[in-house]
C-alpha cells in the first residue's frame, strides 16, 4: 500500500495501457463470475442462506463488544493469548515482541489481509526477520516484489508465462516451463523446507467463534494448516469485526464464502483452531496468539449507516463482479482491499483526504450489491462517502477534504435551474439552440468525446413536443 496520497486515475490509466494485464483480468473475472453463478442454481436457496448469513453478521455487530470479550475469555481459557491493537503500529509491535522473545529468524505466513493492512512483512524484514508468504499467489507476488491484486487470488494479474519467467529468475535451479503443475511443484519444494524450519507461523482468521474460542481458517492449499500446525508458535491476526457469536454461525458463512469467492462448494480445508498443543499432544504450536486489530474499525462502527461495512467476510465476489475492477485490476487501487469493498473500506480507514477518489471509481451499477453474500449496501455507503468527501465536519476521517467551491457552485446552479420550471425552460431552450455549438475541446466534453461522438441536443425538448401535441399538463 502506498503511504503517499494515491492517484487512482493515474494508476488506472497505467493499467488500461497494458493489454496483457487487461486480458488477464477480463478472462479471470469472466471465469469467476460464471463459476459463482453455477454454484447458485436455486434462487430460493441463495436468498435463504444469504439472509441467514447476513443475520449472523448483523447479530455479531449488534453484540460486538460483548462478543469480543467472550472471545477473549474463551480463547484465554483455551490457552490462546489474546492481544489488542488500536493501530497497525501497535499490532506490529505486538508481533515483534513475540518474535523477539522466541528469537524467531524465519516466519511463514498464510494469507492474511490484515497483515497486508499492517505492512507487516516490511516491518519484519526491517528487523532482520525472514518472512515468507506461503499461499502460492502471495508467494508469487512476494517474489515479484509487488502486492496482491485480489484478496482471494493475489497473483491473478499474472499469467502462467509471466510466473514461469519470475520463477526462473528468482528460484534456484528452476526450469523455464510454462506449466502450472510444474510451477506449483516447484513452489511446493521451496516452501516445504521453510514450513519445516520456520520458528513462527502467521495467519489471518476468517471467523472467530466467541462461544468456543475457536479460530476458523479456510483455504485450499494446506499452507494455512502448515503455518498453524508445524511451527512452534502461531500468531493469528484478525480485524475486530471477524467475530461470530456461536459455532453454529460458522456453517452459513462457510456455505457462502467459497461459493461466492471462487465458485467451489467448499474449500479443501476448513481449519478450526481452539488452542495450542495440549499436554500429551504430539504436534501443534506450543503457543497460539490472537491479535485483534482495530485500525479505524471502531470509528466505522460508530456510524449506524457505515457500520454495515463491517459485515464483510472478505470473499472478493464484489471484485469479480465489478466492471471497473475488471478493467483496471487490483493494483490501480493501491490498497490492500481493492474493488468495491476497498472503495468503501479503505477511505474510512485511511481518510478521505488520501482516499477520497475511491468512492468515485464506481458507476454505481450495483453488481456488487446484487451478489454480496452478506448483503452489504456497498453503493449506498459509496454514496454516503461521496457526501462526506465534500461536507466538512462529517463522521468519516478527513470529511470535507474534497470540498471544492467551484464544484459546489456548479451543483448549486444546477439545483437552481432544475428547481424552477421557468429557469428550466429557459435553460433547456438555450441548450437546444446553442448547446450543439459547444466545441469538443471544452473540459468535460473533451473527456466525453475521447471515444464518443458529441451528444446532440434536440431542437425541441419533450416539454415542447408534448405541449405541441396537446398532452394535458395536469
Amino acid at each position: 500500500m502506498a503511504h503517499e496520497p494515491t492517484d487512482f486515475a493515474a494508476a488506472s490509466r497505467a493499467a488500461l495501457a497494458d493489454p496483457q494485464l487487461r486480458g488477464n483480468f477480463r478472462r479471470a473475472m469472466d471465469g469467476l463470475t460464471g463459476k459463482r453463478a453455477a454454484q447458485f442454481p436455486d434462487p430460493a436457496e441463495w436468498h435463504g442462506v444469504r439472509a441467514l448469513a447476513a443475520s449472523v453478521r448483523l447479530r455479531a455487530l449488534a453484540k460486538l463488544p460483548e462478543l469480543l470479550e467472550k472471545l477473549e475469555e474463551n480463547c484465554t481459557r483455551n490457552g490462546i493469548t489474546v492481544h489488542w491493537a488500536a493501530t497497525t503500529d501497535e499490532a506490529n509491535a505486538i508481533a515483534l515482541d513475540i518474535l523477539h522473545r522466541v528469537d524467531a529468524r524465519l516466519v511463514v505466513k498464510g494469507k492474511s489481509m490484515v497483515t497486508e493492512e499492517m505492512h507487516l512483512n516490511a516491518v519484519l524484514e526491517k528487523n532482520g526477520i525472514e518472512v515468507l508468504e506461503s499461499d502460492l499467489g502471495e508467494y508469487i507476488v512476494q517474489l515479484d516484489g509487488t502486492m496482491p491484486s485480489h484478496i482471494i487470488m493475489p497473483a491473478i494479474h499474472l499469467n502462467t508465462k509471466q510466473i514461469a519467467h519470475l520463477f526462473k529468475r528468482r528460484i534456484k535451479d528452476a526450469e523455464s516451463r510454462e506449466d502450472a503443475a510444474y510451477l506449483t511443484d516447484l513452489a511446493r519444494r521451496v516452501l516445504r523446507a521453510k514450513f519445516e524450519a520456520a520458528d513462527v507461523g502467521m495467519s489471518g482468521v476468517n471467523a472467530a467463534v466467541a462461544e468456543t474460542g475457536t479460530l476458523c481458517l479456510i483455504e485450499n492449499e494446506g499452507n494455512g494448516r502448515m503455518c498453524t500446525t508445524v511451527p512452534p508458535v502461531h500468531i493469528a491476526f484478525m480485524g475486530l469485526e471477524k467475530v461470530v457469536e456461536k459455532l453454529e454461525d460458522v456453517p452459513p458463512v462457510i456455505s457462502l464464502l467459497p461459493r461466492s469467492a471462487t465458485g467451489q462448494p467448499i474449500t479443501t480445508y476448513v481449519n478450526m483452531i481452539s488452542g495450542p498443543r495440549k499436554a500429551g499432544e504430539k504436534d501443534g504450536p506450543r503457543e497460539v496468539h490472537l491479535v485483534i486489530l482495530d485500525n479505524g474499525r471502531s470509528s466505522i462502527y460508530a456510524d449506524p449507516e457505515l457500520r454495515d461495512t463491517l459485515r464483510c467476510i472478505r470473499c472478493g465476489a464484489c471484485m469479480n463482479h465489478c466492471p471497473v475492477y475488471t478493467q483496471v485490476g487490483g493494483h490501480a487501487y493501491e490498497a490492500p482491499y481493492p474493488g468495491p469493498i476497498g472503495k468503501i473500506l479503505v477511505p474510512q480507514i485511511e481518510g478521505l483526504d488520501k482516499r477520497g477518489a475511491l468512492p468515485h471509481a464506481c458507476t454505481m451499477c450495483n453488481a456488487c450489491v446484487e451478489i454480496c453474500p452478506v448483503k452489504i449496501p456497498i453503493v449506498e455507503i459509496m454514496g454516503r462517502l461521496r457526501v462526506e468527501a465534500v461536507k466538512p465536519g462529517g463522521a468519516v476521517k478527513d470529511a470535507g477534504a474534497k470540498a471544492s467551491r467551484t464544484e459546489a457552485m456548479v451543483w448549486s446552479g444546477w439545483a437552481a435551474m432544475n428547481a424552477s420550471p421557468t429557469a428550466y425552460r429557459i435553460a433547456t431552450a438555450a441548450m437546444g439552440k446553442l448547446g450543439n455549438a459547444a466545441p469538443s475541446s471544452l473540459p468535460l466534453l473533451k473527456d466525453w468525446t475521447s471515444v464518443r461522438s458529441k451528444p446532440r441536443f434536440a431542437a425541441r425538448t419533450l416539454h415542447d413536443l408534448a405541449r405541441a401535441k396537446g398532452i394535458p399538463d395536469a
Binding site: R386, V451, H463
Partner: protein, 252 residues
C-alpha cells in the same frame, strides 16, 4: 426489489419524461406517451417537471438533489401511477426519494409519490399486459439492460418479453447483458479512460450479436453506447425501446 402489486388498469397516468430524454431523446419520450395512449390511457405530462435529482444525489450533493426532487413532488397529485421511460430515474424516485426526504416535513408525500413510480416497460407488461403486433421488416436486435433498471427496479425480463412479442424481430441477447456500459453519470467524465474501456467491451459484445440495432430503456446508457458506436464508425444503431416499439407497431 419486488414489483409493487399491479394496480387494476388505470384510465389516467402521469408521465415523468426525465431531463436526458427532454434534452437529447424527446422523440423517445413522445413514443412512450404514444404507447400509453394507444392502450387507451390519458397521459398527463406536467410541464413543471425537470429532473429526479439523481446527478447531484450520486455526486454527494444531497441538499441540491433534495431541492430539485422537492420541486417535482406537487406535480403528481392523487393516486395515478407515474410512468418513467428510464429505469435509472425511476429507480431514483422509487428507491432513493424515501431516503432523500427522510426526516423532512414532506417525507410522507415523497414516500407516497415514490410508491407510484413505474418504469415504462414494467408498466406495459405488468399493468397494461400489452400485446404488440409487429408491422416492421425482419430485423435482428440486441437488448442493453441498464444497471439501475435491473438492480433498482427489478426490470430484467419485461423489455425482452416485449421485444419477443414482435414477430419479425429476432432478439439476440448479449453475452454480458448484466454488465455496466461504463456511463455511470459523472463517472464517464471523472474516469473517461475506464469508461471508454468499459464501453469498448460493450461494443464488442454488441457487435458479436450481429444485430442491426441495440435497444435500451435508459438514455444515459444510450448516449454512451450510441456515441461510441458513432465515433467508432460502427453500423449498429442505438435506440430507446419506446421509440423502437412505436416504430414496429406502426410499421414506420
Amino acid at each position: 426489489m419486488d414489483h409493487q402489486p399491479a394496480p387494476t388498469k388505470p384510465s389516467r397516468v402521469y408521465y415523468f419524461g426525465t431531463c436526458l430524454v427532454d434534452l437529447f431523446f424527446p422523440d423517445a419520450g413522445m413514443a412512450g406517451i404514444d404507447l400509453l395512449q394507444s392502450q387507451g390511457l390519458t397521459v398527463v405530462f406536467p410541464q413543471g417537471q425537470s429532473c429526479c435529482g439523481q446527478p447531484a444525489y450520486n455526486s454527494g450533493y444531497r441538499a441540491e438533489a433534495l431541492k430539485v426532487a422537492r420541486a417535482q413532488l406537487d406535480l403528481f397529485p392523487g393516486e395515478d401511477p407515474i410512468v418513467v421511460p428510464s429505469g435509472s430515474c425511476a429507480g431514483m424516485m422509487r428507491k432513493h426519494w424515501p431516503d432523500l426526504f427522510r426526516g423532512e416535513p414532506d417525507e410522507a408525500k415523497a414516500v407516497q409519490v415514490a410508491a407510484r413510480v413505474w418504469e415504462l416497460t414494467q408498466f406495459l407488461v405488468h399493468v397494461l399486459d400489452v400485446h404488440l403486433t409487429d408491422r416492421g421488416e425482419p430485423l435482428r436486435v440486441t437488448w442493453h439492460a441498464s444497471c439501475h433498471a435491473q438492480r433498482e427496479m427489478g426490470v430484467v425480463e419485461e423489455p425482452k418479453a416485449l421485444l419477443r412479442q414482435l414477430a419479425n424481430v429476432e432478439l439476440v441477447e448479449l453475452k454480458r447483458e448484466k454488465e455496466c456500459c461504463g456511463f455511470g453519470g459523472t463517472f464517464a467524465v471523472r474516469h473517461p479512460e475506464i469508461s471508454a474501456a468499459m464501453v469498448g467491451d460493450k461494443l464488442a459484445d454488441i457487435e458479436g450479436t450481429e444485430a442491426a440495432r441495440v435497444v435500451s430503456g435508459d438514455c444515459g446508457c444510450l448516449l454512451n453506447i450510441t456515441g461510441a458506436l458513432e465515433a467508432g464508425g460502427k453500423p449498429v444503431r442505438g435506440q430507446h425501446i419506446a421509440q423502437f416499439l412505436k416504430e414496429r407497431i406502426h410499421g414506420a
